[in-house]
């Protein structure tokens, strides 16, 4: 036993040998510098900072929802239905006596989940297919681009509606439908980036030392085409949340009474004249969340665009 431990500690030592540490430091330091500079630039854009604050609050709300919400998301106090906002019910109650504040807090979870899954799913597919098309070019590229043309020639909410209608009503199906709609835009973006990056000398150099295609794509080309992808992803997180809310407003996704923002606005349809709080707060949550992502996306675009960077990132 002792021997094994000794052996392990030795290997551990060798992983963090001096050369390795030096190499890691060398690898890390320009990246940290870059990150620091980006943070410095982002700090100069007050609107982007507001956006970051909104997103942070949203994430914390989603994580802490079970601990900070005063009631359960499916708890109904029937004797207290349609109550206006008060200290007991900060955002009032709905027609079944559900606490609107609690449901809005829990709604953050679903929204973030949908946003992340849809955007990462679309991005993942887009990167793989787009890299394939852009790197190999010719017939493959032409074929894939025509397919994206077809997907992009149908307005995305409507295509998502069609796909979700065929798959059936559930949150999972809404996410699948949205990924089906989302990937073509990323594919085109990645492909365009790869086409322009592919011609750089360092790609040529990597090829000449015998690097494989996968290595060139994932180690050399993709990291250098990240900037527009990051901007697009940030903005799309907001867009995905907005579209998902629209779809669940139309009746896809979560069923009646669920703690989902779009559904909550939809459920308030018959009551919002006399009980406006049922409609105002969940809608406001969607609005502020999407605004947050758009503010950050706008700020990031200004920072990551080298042409605007010379101006000090101030917009």
């Amino acid at each position: 036993m002792k021997k094994i431990f000794q052996h392990q500690s030795q290997t551990k030592k060798s992983i963090f040998s001096k050369e390795k540490r030096e190499y890691f430091k060398k690898w890390l330091s320009p990246r940290i510098k870059e990150l620091r500079y980006s943070l410095h630039l982002i700090k100069q854009s007050p609107l982007a900072m507001v956006g970051i604050a909104i997103i942070l609050i949203l994430v914390f709300t989603a994580i802490l929802a079970p601990f900070i919400s005063p009631y359960g998301p499916e708890e109904h106090i029937w004797s207290e239905s349609k109550q206006p906002p008060s200290w007991k019910h900060l955002f009032g109650t709905d027609e079944t006596g559900g606490d609107v504040f609690t449901k809005v807090l829990w709604g953050a979870r679903i929204s973030i989940e949908i946003g992340l899954i849809v955007v990462l799913g679309g991005l993942g597919l887009g990167i793989i297919i787009g890299a394939f098309a852009g790197y190999y070019g010719r017939y493959i590229d032409e074929f894939i681009m025509r397919i994206t043309d077809i997907f992009l020639s149908i307005p995305y909410l409507i295509l998502a509606m069609g796909v979700a209608a065929i798959l059936g009503k559930s949150i999972e199906n809404v996410m699948i439908a949205m990924i089906v709609v989302w990937w073509p835009a990323y594919t085109r973006l990645v492909r365009g980036q790869i086409l322009s990056v592919r011609e750089n000398q360092y790609v040529e150099a990597a090829k000449s030392v015998g690097a494989g295609d996968t290595r060139i794509i994932f180690r050399h080309i993709l990291p250098n085409s990240m900037a527009p992808l990051i901007v697009q992803t940030t903005m799309d997180l907001g867009n995905a949340i907005l579209t998902a809310a629209g779809l669940s407003f139309l009746g896809f996704g979560a069923g009646p009474g669920a703690a989902e923002w779009g559904r909550m606005v939809s459920d308030s349809r018959n009551y919002f004249m006399s009980c406006p709080w049922m409609m105002v707060f969940p809608g406001l949550a969607i609005f502020i969340t999407v605004l947050g992502f758009n503010l950050v996306g706008d700020g990031l675009r200004d920072i990551l665009d080298p042409r605007l960077r010379r101006g000090g990132g101030k917009t």
């Binding site: 020639s153 909410l157 295509l159 509606m161 069609g162 065929i166 907001g238 139309l250 606005v265 758009n294």
Partner: protein, 341 residues
């Protein structure tokens, strides 16, 4: 390339895209559920159902089914809509499309007429308060859920004004009951003008205000943003400096020299936003009980009326493709360099 050559080229390129759209929609209908459901009503006997399946080729292999499907589409047999009293899908579209087109066109005009000047003001007053206000307004436009905006507007401009005894906008619908103009074009605004009835015209306009603004807000924001950024780019060009140097008034420099060149990218955005308007129409029409194809599509979702949803998707895709073609042609006309590519 001459303009007519360019038009022909673009029209030819349209064919594979349209075929592709039908393949995509065909595959979707075959993946989920029974495609025969689009042609079957509950009153049919077993024999009748079998006959329907045979006529539309549902017993054939998939690639043969596609040919049957295309035949049905081209013949105008798009199935029946359960959400609309079992009426043929194409008849429902004919009946309800004018309402959607009227709403969409008014929204688009509103977005263009308000969006472009906002963008210009924002660019000419860069980093001053009108610029900040416009940018915030534009960012709100792309962030706001339009169904929520619709409810807010109904609450404020109908309910709050009404309970305070003030003149208010109508809550929903295309016109007050009994004020429907005799049908000529299907566009109530035009029909009421043709009927020569000013009160009818004002009534339809009053009904259009809320849905049209609600629908146009996103596009308005996008147009304002695009105009701003392309104006800023153009304002830095040499020919603007030349125009200023030769002593033209600022007004002339902005509207005659800068705006005309800045509008080219804006045209594209206007075209692209048309797709957003069609999608937004589904939500807006649902909120304002607007009897167009959008509210029909939304109801079809609730009633699981696949034939209607598919029909709606096809008609929207065709409209969107045609509008994009028009935009591309306009673009090529405005900027001859496009044709050379």
């Amino acid at each position: 390339m001459k303009m007519y050559q360019y038009i022909i080229r673009r029209l030819l390129l349209l064919i594979p895209v349209l075929i592709g759209i039908t393949i995509l929609i065909f595959l979707l209908t075959r993946i989920g559920g029974d495609p025969a459901a689009a042609y079957i009503t509950p009153r049919m006997t077993h024999e009748q159902i079998e006959k329907v399946k045979e006529i539309h080729g549902f017993n054939q292999p998939v690639y043969v089914q596609y040919l049957y499907y295309m035949g049905d589409i081209l013949r105008g047999d798009w199935g029946i809509s359960k959400a609309h009293q079992d009426m043929p899908v194409l008849d429902v579209i004919k009946l309800r499309l004018p309402a959607t087109i009227e709403l969409t066109i008014v929204a688009m005009l509103l977005a263009t007429i308000v969006g472009i000047p906002l963008g210009v003001i924002s660019a000419t007053k860069k980093d001053k308060w009108p610029d900040h206000a416009t940018r915030l307004f534009a960012l709100s436009g792309v962030s706001i859920p339009i169904f929520w905006l619709g409810f807010l507007m109904q609450y404020i401009f109908f309910y709050l004004l009404k309970i305070n005894g003030l003149p208010h906008l109508p809550l929903y619908g295309r016109a007050t009951a009994g004020m429907y103009p005799p049908q000529v074009t299907g566009f109530f605004t035009l029909d009421s003008i043709i009927a020569g009835n000013p009160s009818m015209f004002l009534d339809t306009i009053a009904h259009l205000v809320m849905p049209a603004f609600c629908l146009s807000y996103v596009s308005l924001a996008e147009i304002a943003r695009m105009t701003r950024s392309s104006m800023l780019e153009v304002m830095g060009q040499d020919y603007i400096r030349t125009a200023r140097a030769k002593g033209l008034s600022e007004r002339k420099v902005i509207y005659k020299h800068a705006l005309r060149n800045a509008l080219i990218p804006t045209v594209t955005i206007i075209g692209l936003s048309f797709g957003g308007l069609l999608a937004g129409a589904v939500l807006t029409e649902t909120i304002f009980n607007w009897p167009g194809v959008g509210s029909w599509a939304a109801e079809s979702i609730v009633r699981i009326d696949t034939a209607a949803i598919v029909g709606f998707t096809i008609i929207v895709a065709i409209m969107y493709t045609i509008v994009n073609l028009i935009v591309d042609l306009t673009y090529a006309y405005l900027d001859p360099r496009v044709r050379l590519e």
